[in-house]
Symmetry: C2
């Protein structure tokens, strides 16, 4: 058996998230179906993390073992020819026999997109969180700096899928405003950590937006860490603004 | 009766074009329905140009006469509250009583977007024409320069809705490559003229792409003008890469 490492992009709008579910259109299910059509194998793939309904990805990682003779780049083209247009394999490589996209991931990076304007943009409908109130992006970014480093993030974990160890290391959390080619005012929040708790990115974003709206001071997002109480943080930002950018793995020898 | 001038943005993916049709979801029909809900009036609006199924707009212009007492900015908010999320009124103003978005337009500007890459981008699915062959954008832009000015564009008119006078003045036709934030390689073609023949932008784009692929010389798009024969030009580029950017009107006194 050989092991493959896929990098996957998807528009999450029409999917019930990443994880396979019976009778539901999921990204994992779509890829497994494409693998079946290409190799004849009914198998399970492993993602570096589950994404919820509506969440997008530029670079989700997945791994699986297969008896196929196809080279990785041929497999990429064959899978794309058998996938719906809202999922694309953007990279494919053969990995070490014991490679696992879930267990061996050393971190992940996400982007959260906010459209901050008076009128929603039709082209960002399912692609960004529309926020009407003008956001103080400098205050949000200053608040974000206070969360860098290793902390117990239990205050930012939605219950339902609790982790025993809720300490994580935030390697980056940056908020910036950008105006794109079509003069849309976007606020982009990028976050990288060695791992994430359930809904952690969306809870961080919802909390930073409270600061951006001027409802809370810059110190607040860091101040609520010690209490380890989800009720102290801001609301959960909607799923459709979230993009998984990439998963990190140890360098291959 | 008062006259209103609306500026309209829409994602054309789920519409059967601009123009009202019985039992079809059209942009005109959606706006007329919203006007009915807001003012109680069953009326017809006039667009500065019809767009086909799948074509998008950042700034389509429309006009209509109404007995409403609402101020233009209140009307904007009321219409948006009654429109589906893939259509937005982005500007609204009261115009002179005889204003007509179709007859008084002095020109229009469009953008055509090509995604030029090895793998289609899931987020550009219905938003850009995917072209796999590497395009020579400098050659395309050089070819475009040869079309500037006043010419008979009958070679670029799809039959079906023929104009008597097929002369138009191209004020701008520029091809450039841009790499966006997500490192996507986009080719953007912007074109402005005093008016357009049926499918003229898409026929110009399809022709310039033949030059970009190296199949035709830079001089070719201008050389085929005198023949006034559609069969000599390149194929019609698909609708979903086309965006109406704006319509121009004489300055109001």
């Amino acid at each position: 058996m050989r092991c493959f490492h896929l990098t996957v992009a998807y528009d999450g709008t029409a999917f019930f998230g990443w994880q396979w579910q019976p009778d539901r259109r999921t990204v994992q299910g779509a890829i497994e179906e494409a693998i079946y059509r290409v190799t004849g194998e009914r198998l399970r793939i492993v993602g570096s993390g589950r994404t919820d309904t509506g969440v997008h990805a530029h670079g989700q990682a997945a791994s699986f073992r297969s008896a196929t003779d196809l080279e990785a780049h041929v497999l990429l083209r064959a899978l794309n020819a058998n996938l719906p247009a809202d999922v694309r394999i953007v990279a494919s490589r053969e990995a070490a026999a014991d490679f696992c996209a879930l267990r061996q991931s050393t971190g992940k990076r996400y982007r959260y997109l906010i459209h901050n304007a008076e009128i929603p943009d039709v082209f960002l409908q399912n692609r960004a969180w529309f926020v009407y109130d003008p956001l103080d992006v400098e205050a949000m970014n200053a608040a974000a700096q206070g969360l860098h480093g290793r902390h117990d993030f239990k205050s930012y974990e939605t219950s339902g899928s609790p982790r025993v160890d809720t300490c994580r290391t935030l390697r980056d959390l940056t908020v910036r405003r950008s105006v794109d080619e079509d003069a849309r005012s976007l606020v982009s929040i990028e976050v990288e950590a060695d791992g994430f708790l359930y809904n952690m990115v969306r809870n961080l974003v919802g909390t930073l937006v409270e600061v951006g709206r001027g409802k809370r001071p810059i110190e607040w997002p860091a101040e609520i860490l010690p209490a380890r109480d989800r009720r102290l943080a801001g609301p959960t930002a909607p799923a459709h603004g979230l993009y998984m950018l990439r998963a990190f793995f140890p360098p291959t020898p």
